[in-house]
Symmetry: C2
Subunit: 361 residues, 2 copies
């Protein structure tokens, strides 16, 4: 799973590199994905007393076994093709895999990523199709009084003349994720490339902001999207500048933000797709606990409103209550209930589904 | 240095998140950069017997001290404003800082990054100036038979009509770095934004490919640049499509690649800037050990040829020999010798200097 094996000369180079070399562990290969989909994980420690592997392809953590050279390892049986986060717990401390370049973009969890390829390319696989561009941009958030980074996907062969206008999906990450999680872990750009190439998705722009606002209340992010990000995008990209041309989606804390932002800005978003929303927030309580909506008016504005969740998600009961609440208020909602937990494997499934449903009329 | 303090509700969320919560360390703040430029580093472990801090702001590693709760810490005196890599060594194993989101993009070294702000913004600081775009693109490398990622910086307010043509700097990372290291660690996009805003640098496109080719010989990367990357860039961006409009630069292994690629492709590059080149490679030996150049012809093609290095660089003697070799062959070379070692602090200095020198005539 390491990009490539190190050359001997590069190894020499590494040893030369600094006088700290003696303190470095040996170069070991982890994870090793075998052709049958089984995977060997390795970790080097002469001194640890217990090392376990935690992975979203496992139902519970499993122990690594140490050899005489201090290399701990474990091989797991064939895993269903997908992209999974995993980590080691070394004597009670969670750590990413020091021999794997691919890290889960997150401010809190220290995890690595392992990709199990399918026999046929999966919807997130890098394929020989036209590729869109992923832009790393800075915008000036007047709301938050800071320059913030935002990622913008533009579709393959976008018309730069300005004659063609594109719809825009605003896509928000989970609680301690970053603006890179939807691409680095969720593979949004590759999923969009593939679905557009297959004719299953409209060409669209996808905007991935940084959704965490701390210690300020999360409500500020709603303002940031409405007053700063949307104007920045509409100024800088050939967008369909109305509610029908905009969708908002997000996962977990971002799924809760999606509901807050969407339903308080129906003049800006006609499509709202919430994935496993976390809604135990002050902002959600403010907006929805004593909510008396004019359902007919809202339904006439909404082109699509979905809430997606897995039945093993730790938020499943809460999300079911959310769905019931919206139904009870008379809001047209399309629930999407699948297997699985609160995972980025399901995020990719939810996004793939959304991309095939939105901006179709 | 963590982006923001965690909210209590988010902490609850984290605890709820999975049943692994009991195995997670407490949320501690590391690194804490104080207003005087001193920094406190922290690491949690109940079981480690020795933890040291290694940082490029230190002359040698220093020990962290454990408190009764298992939090190890050390405070270093005020550090010169810059961006520095650092790591912990926990019982002989090098690790990045588990509480710091900012990681050094590298396939081998596991390091974190700490930014010490200056009283005035530094040349790499995010400032309120027009920002260029950073594009993550895929190109089809026929040479390597793979789709590879390449990062492309386009300058602020680039003329998209195609009427204005821009010069292009090809910029290559170090030995085990990735295509993201020049931006994530080297802050190339922000340095270019700032120098362009100050009128000190021409508006230009900067292309940052992935330079590692393993296990194939590095010579394949020379072909990849010449036959795949340059055509891709010239097809997709409004470039000055000749040697005068192209420069190549790189650091360490990338500095050696820069010399190989540049001098074997003088029809494509009139500017060659090599930073602390690593030249103990077969490819360099092939090109330069029995080299009998027509110096006049080469000098007539070269607009600028620089080799930069710090006097404390572990490659300093080797780089001095490289400079002498080129001088002895009669090649016009502008050496740039500064203080410091084989570091990305110096990389930023070398790049800032290059950006102010190239494409000026």
């Amino acid at each position: 799973m390491k990009r490539y094996q190190l050359h001997f000369f590069l190894l020499c180079f590494v040893l030369l590199f600094t006088n700290l070399a003696a303190q470095r562990p040996p170069a070991i290969s982890s994870p090793d994905v075998h052709s049958d989909g089984s995977v060997t994980f390795r970790y080097f420690s002469k001194t640890a007393s217990k090392i376990t592997l935690n992975g979203e392809f496992l139902t519970s953590s499993i122990d690594l076994v140490k050899d005489t050279s201090g290399i701990w390892s474990v091989t797991v049986p064939p895993v269903k093709p997908d992209i999974y986060p995993y980590s080691f717990t070394v004597d009670n401390v969670q750590t990413s895999d020091p021999n794997n370049t691919y890290l889960f973009a997150n401010e809190r969890f220290k995890r690595s990523i392992v990709e199990i390829p399918g026999k046929e390319p999966l919807i997130h696989s890098l394929q020989n199709v036209p590729h869109g561009k992923l832009h790393y941009r800075y915008y000036n958030s007047k709301t938050l009084n800071i320059h913030r980074q935002v990622l913008v996907y533009t579709p393959p062969n976008m018309d730069l003349s300005g004659k063609t206008k594109y719809p825009v999906l605003y896509l928000i990450h989970g609680g301690s994720d970053t603006e890179e999680t939807w691409t680095k872990v969720g593979k949004t750009n590759l999923i969009a490339d593939n679905l557009i190439a297959q004719g299953k998705s409209k060409s669209m722009i996808i905007v991935m902001p940084y959704g965490n606002v701390r210690p300020a209340p999360l409500a500020d992010f709603t303002k940031d999207v409405a007053l700063d990000i949307i104007p920045f995008i509409d100024q800088n990209y050939p967008t369909i500048n109305n509610a029908g041309g905009r969708a908002i989606a997000g996962f977990s804390v971002g799924g809760g933000q999606t509901l807050n932002i969407g339903f308080t800005n129906l003049d800006k978003f006609a499509t709202i797709c919430s994935y496993a929303p976390y809604t135990a927030t002050e902002e959600f309580k403010t907006h929805f606990s004593n909510w008396s909506p004019d359902a007919n008016q809202i339904n006439s504005k909404l082109k699509l409103f979905t809430i997606s969740v897995g039945t093993e998600d730790f938020l499943y009961e809460s999300v079911k209550n959310n769905i019931t609440m919206f139904k009870d208020k008379g809001i047209n909602i399309k629930p999407f209930i699948v297997d699985g937990g609160h995972t980025w494997m399901n995020c990719k499934l939810f996004l793939s589904t959304t991309l095939q449903e939105i901006f179709k009329n």
